[in-house]
C-alpha cells in the first residue's frame, strides 16, 4: 500500500467518524468542535487531490467562517452555552432511508474503473483564468445570490419588524 493510499484511508476514516460524531454528541458546542475537525479533514483531502486553492478556500470559508457563524448562532439562541440537547429516539426509518441512499449511490460506482489513475495538478493561475473566463457567468450569479441573501438575512433579523 502506497503512502497516498494510506493518507487517503486515514483522512476518509477521520471524515466519517467526525461527521457522525458531530451529529450524535449531546452538547452543541462539541458538535461545532467535531464539525471544525471535519472541515479541516476535507481541506486535507483537497490538498491530497492536488487542489491547493480549494483546500485554502475550504480552510478559510468552512473551518473559519462557517464554524464561527454556527458558534455565534448557538451563543445567541441559548441562555447557557453548554446546555445539553434533548436526545430523541432514533427510529428505524431514518437509518433505513440513509442506508438506501448509500446503497443507491454506491451501486453506480461499478461504472468507474477500479484501477489507480494519476492525479492531475493544475496551476492556480489557470484555475482563475477558467473561473473568470468561461465560468464567469456562474461567478456573477454567485455574487447576485450572495447580495440577495444578505439583504434577506438582514430583513429577517431586523428588530421591530411587524
Amino acid at each position: 500500500m502506497s503512502l497516498e493510499e494510506l493518507a487517503f484511508l486515514g483522512l476518509a476514516v477521520i471524515a466519517l467518524v467526525t461527521g457522525l460524531a458531530a451529529l450524535l454528541v449531546r452538547e452543541l458546542v462539541h458538535t461545532i468542535m467535531w464539525i471544525a475537525v471535519f472541515f479541516v479533514d476535507l481541506a486535507a483531502i483537497y490538498f491530497l487531490l492536488e487542489a491547493p486553492f480549494l483546500g485554502v478556500l475550504q480552510l478559510g470559508v468552512y473551518a473559519g467562517a462557517v464554524t464561527v457563524l454556527l458558534l455565534f448562532g448557538i451563543m445567541t439562541t441559548r441562555k447557557r452555552i453548554f446546555s445539553r440537547e434533548a436526545v430523541t429516539g432514533i427510529g428505524p426509518a431514518p437509518l433505513a432511508l440513509a442506508l438506501v441512499t448509500f446503497l443507491f449511490v454506491i451501486s453506480a460506482i461499478g461504472e468507474f474503473s477500479q484501477s489507480e489513475q494519476p492525479i492531475r495538478s493544475y496551476d492556480p493561475t489557470y484555475l482563475s483564468a477558467n473561473l473568470f473566463g468561461p465560468n464567469g457567468p456562474w461567478l456573477l450569479l454567485l455574487g447576485l445570490i450572495m447580495l440577495a441573501s444578505v439583504s434577506g438575512a438582514i430583513y429577517l433579523v431586523r428588530e421591530g419588524r411587524e
Binding site: 491530497l48 454556527l70 439562541t77 449511490v105 468507474f112 477500479q114 441573501s149 438575512a153
Partner: protein
C-alpha cells in the same frame, strides 16, 4: 506523481451524503439540521474535486471552478439559515423545528 483509485473517493462521498440525510431526518435542532445539510453539501463538492483530479485538462479546471462557486453558495446558505434560526428563536423562544408550525392548516 500521486496515483489513486477513484472508487474509494466516490464511496467516501456516498457515505457522507448518507450521514447528512441521516442527520436531517433525526435531529430536531435547527442548527444541527444546518450542519447535516453542510455535510451532505460537502459530499457533493468533494465529487466535483475528484472528477476534476481524475479527468482531462480543461474539464478538470471546470470541475474545480464549479467547486469554488459551490463553496460560496454553501456559505451563503449557512448565513441565511442562521438568520432564520435567530428569527425563529425570537418568535418562539426555541430553535426546535417541531415548534415551527405557523404555516400548518
Amino acid at each position: 506523481m500521486t496515483a489513486l483509485a477513484l472508487t474509494g473517493f466516490l464511496a467516501l462521498s456516498a457515505a457522507l451524503l448518507a450521514i447528512g440525510i441521516f442527520g436531517i431526518l433525526t435531529r430536531r435542532n435547527f442548527i444541527l439540521i444546518l450542519i447535516a445539510i453542510e455535510i451532505g453539501m460537502n459530499a457533493a463538492i468533494l465529487n466535483f474535486v475528484y472528477f476534476a483530479a481524475f479527468s482531462g485538462a480543461t474539464s478538470g479546471l471546470t470541475g474545480q471552478s464549479i467547486a469554488v462557486v459551490l463553496v460560496g453558495f454553501a456559505a451563503t446558505e449557512v448565513a441565511v439559515g442562521l438568520a432564520i434560526v435567530l428569527a425563529l428563536n425570537r418568535l418562539k423562544g426555541t430553535i426546535d423545528v417541531a415548534q415551527a408550525t405557523d404555516l400548518k392548516l
